[in-house]
Subunit: 228 residues, 2 copies
Amino acid sequence: MAKVCADSICKIELLRALSPEVRDCLLSRARTRDVKRGETLSWQGDRAETLKIVTRGWVKLFRVSEEGHEAVVNTLGHGQSFDEVPALLGGESAVSAEAITDATVLMLNLSDICSCTNARAELSQAVLSAAQIHMNSMTNQIEGLKIKTATQRLGEFLLQQSGEHDGLRSFVLPFGKVVLAGMLGMKPESLSRAFSRLKDVGVCSAGGRVEINDPATLRDWMLQQSIR
Amino acid sequence: MAKVCADSICKIELLRALSPEVRDCLLSRARTRDVKRGETLSWQGDRAETLKIVTRGWVKLFRVSEEGHEAVVNTLGHGQSFDEVPALLGGESAVSAEAITDATVLMLNLSDICSCTNARAELSQAVLSAAQIHMNSMTNQIEGLKIKTATQRLGEFLLQQSGEHDGLRSFVLPFGKVVLAGMLGMKPESLSRAFSRLKDVGVCSAGGRVEINDPATLRDWMLQQSIR
């Protein structure tokens, strides 16, 4: 694993936060796992033995409610991690994880920790930073679910995907519309209606391809929306 | 502050996780703040200088969206803490905090850390545990907002408040219905409709008092609800 650090893996924020010694030591004991779309990586309630970082493709985190319904909690792409805190403290995963495209995941065992000086303190710091990022992202998501309409949530997701620059933007959705609807907290038919509404502000969608005529127009429209 | 540890403060989970030396040292430098209902404790985006623990009354955490709408992110009662990670890492608060009843908050300065052995390591561990609890609670909230109806979310909140035991349960809502509606992600008029619907399963509400005729009946009803 040592030479993977020559490529994009070392640019991942969580790993950049570590000293080269601790990072190389951790990576030398890491495993990578290639999974097919639809394959489950880990289950809610299982002991989280590793911190996991997505290095290719997309993974959804989900929960199944007591009533048997699935809620997509988040979707993670390149460089995004999960199970950090339980991997460090020895707890259980709060969510299940499934590949929603073919994907590769780097699995880091934090308890089998190397003897480098400061490894534990560095990892605590890196995991705390990752926890902070997750909490901010979840707070954004809760804010959106509570006070934004489904169409506003779709508009925000599309602006993020487009990179938020101005001028015509065209891109392919990273995963299917059923997962996207679940991620945004709506049924697939509501997602279709939300896409229809966004046509008026220059958003076209055909198959998995989306074109935003002018992101500035879309942003202005979103700011004018009133509370649902 | 040393003798406060004789009372309920030392039973607070985050403080129990510390050794007596580190806890006493931290508490000896703590400040308490009494606030009136409606008073703001801290602002989103400000540097979080202290970890805060609610020791009396209730506090809401909220965000104001770009469009100017308020989203209640959480409501915290006795023993619940916030701003743990930014207080330790020196970051900004992700939320604003306001007292929704008269309240007392214990403010702990983690950066002005005492010279006890292991203080930093113990605090990191305690803050990581607190972060895990927050993430689990936010994951539950996201799951509820995505796949449960407003009435189901109200039913769950009432069961939590009732202590979930069987037999007639009667209790007073801890804060007003406008905050409760915001917390559950609905408008006040939707909250009234949700209370009306729950009458059929034995939930009566008058003023701030709620009676659940039989929590088991309410739980059964919730399990039978289909996805919204």
